[in-house]
Symmetry: C2
DNA sequence: GTCTATAGCCAGATAGAC
DNA sequence: GTCTATCTGGCTATAGAC
């Protein structure tokens, strides 16, 4: 990693602040309801300045997703270095982390339908690359957990992988939290418990 | 039910057509990307005419949700009349139906975040009434299934109820269908299997 | 790179004739 | 109740000075 000049560091810090604000707003209101004006106001700079850093609203969202995947990959790497743990335990750690991020209101949510956004993401090399890396790690653990008897081998790994990703946008934790009756840890325990029990071999 | 005049019948048919179009578009693109112009074009009337039937875009969406809940309640009532079936079986039938509707591309999806829409729904008596009726039926079956040993009694009924509702907007079936590798019936079987296995008592 | 000011557009909602 | 034509507001994006 090359040393960065002072100028570049300032730039980097500002862009981090922008992406953090976008992440927060995406988690809060979603892509369509998030306005670029809000992002600018949140960061404390003019809207036109934002457009010097990112060429479009879609690019802002893509940057937030890249940041999320980077954080995810860090968690995955951390789990990969735990020695001697069964694969199911590594998977559980990642899902637990995702649920905690979601309950903390820091999980950016994108509409699965917006086409301009999909186009941007599908053309975003870094995003696709990170998504692939995460998928490959998780996929390997899923196959391993099937071999170890913790996940039903009759379930295609693809189905399990999609289900794992889907935990990141599961509306159930949010509903339960909104009810205000239960502690976050309890909610996480319920969701994790029923999810992983559902993946178990039948019988 | 009073006889309707011819005029009223025509009105009713037209409004049914409008709500059906809204349902289709909501399933296809979601609330934010659906435009009132599209709805009008789809029905084949002018946009201004739409506004004679429904006062706002939010009201259109609410009408579609009411229609969905009416269909749901019909399925629930049908299951309620099956004699001698365990409660878990009735729940499974309802979830199966919801998954099939979703795979057929007929499940309207609303953003859980849009505040103007939430306000409209929370003020919509018929919507709330239907939602309550469906919830009460399902809630009773959940408690019964717990007593019958098919659902973990340690799981609050509320958690189970939310999880059931969440199956209606589960992204996993859609992803699997988009992959094109699997038949709808197979997808439904996988999702149903892992979901209900996850609710089972541990051990 | 930052700002103020504004262009351009699109979508929800309405006016008013018939 | 239906239409055509239009209004209105808000949002993305940009121009141009500093």
């Amino acid at each position: 990693m090359a040393r960065l000049s002072f100028r570049e560091q300032v730039l980097r810090v500002r862009e981090d602040a922008i992406v953090a604000a976008v992440n927060r707003l995406l988690a809060d209101k979603g892509f369509d309801l998030m306005t670029v004006d809000e992002v600018a106001a949140d960061v404390g700079i003019a809207k036109a300045s934002l457009y010097k850093h990112f060429p479009s609203k879609e690019a802002l969202a893509a940057a937030a997703m890249v940041r999320l995947l980077q954080r995810t990959l860090a968690v995955v790497d951390e789990q990969a270095q735990v020695v001697g743990a069964p694969a199911i335990q590594r998977l559980q750690a990642v899902v637990r982390w995702a649920l905690e991020v979601q309950l903390a209101g820091e999980m950016p949510s994108l509409p699965s339908q917006n086409s301009s956004l999909r186009a941007e993401l599908m053309g975003h090399k870094e995003y696709l690359d990170l998504l692939m890396q995460v998928s490959e790690h998780l996929g390997a653990w899923i196959v391993q957990a099937q071999a170890e008897g913790d996940i039903d081998p009759g379930l295609p790994a693809e189905v399990v992988l999609y289900s794992v990703f889907a935990r990141a946008c599961d509306p159930v934790p949010g509903f339960l939290k909104a009810g205000g009756q239960h502690a976050d840890a309890q909610i996480v325990a319920w969701v994790m418990g029923s999810f992983f029990r559902g993946l178990r071999p039948a019988g």
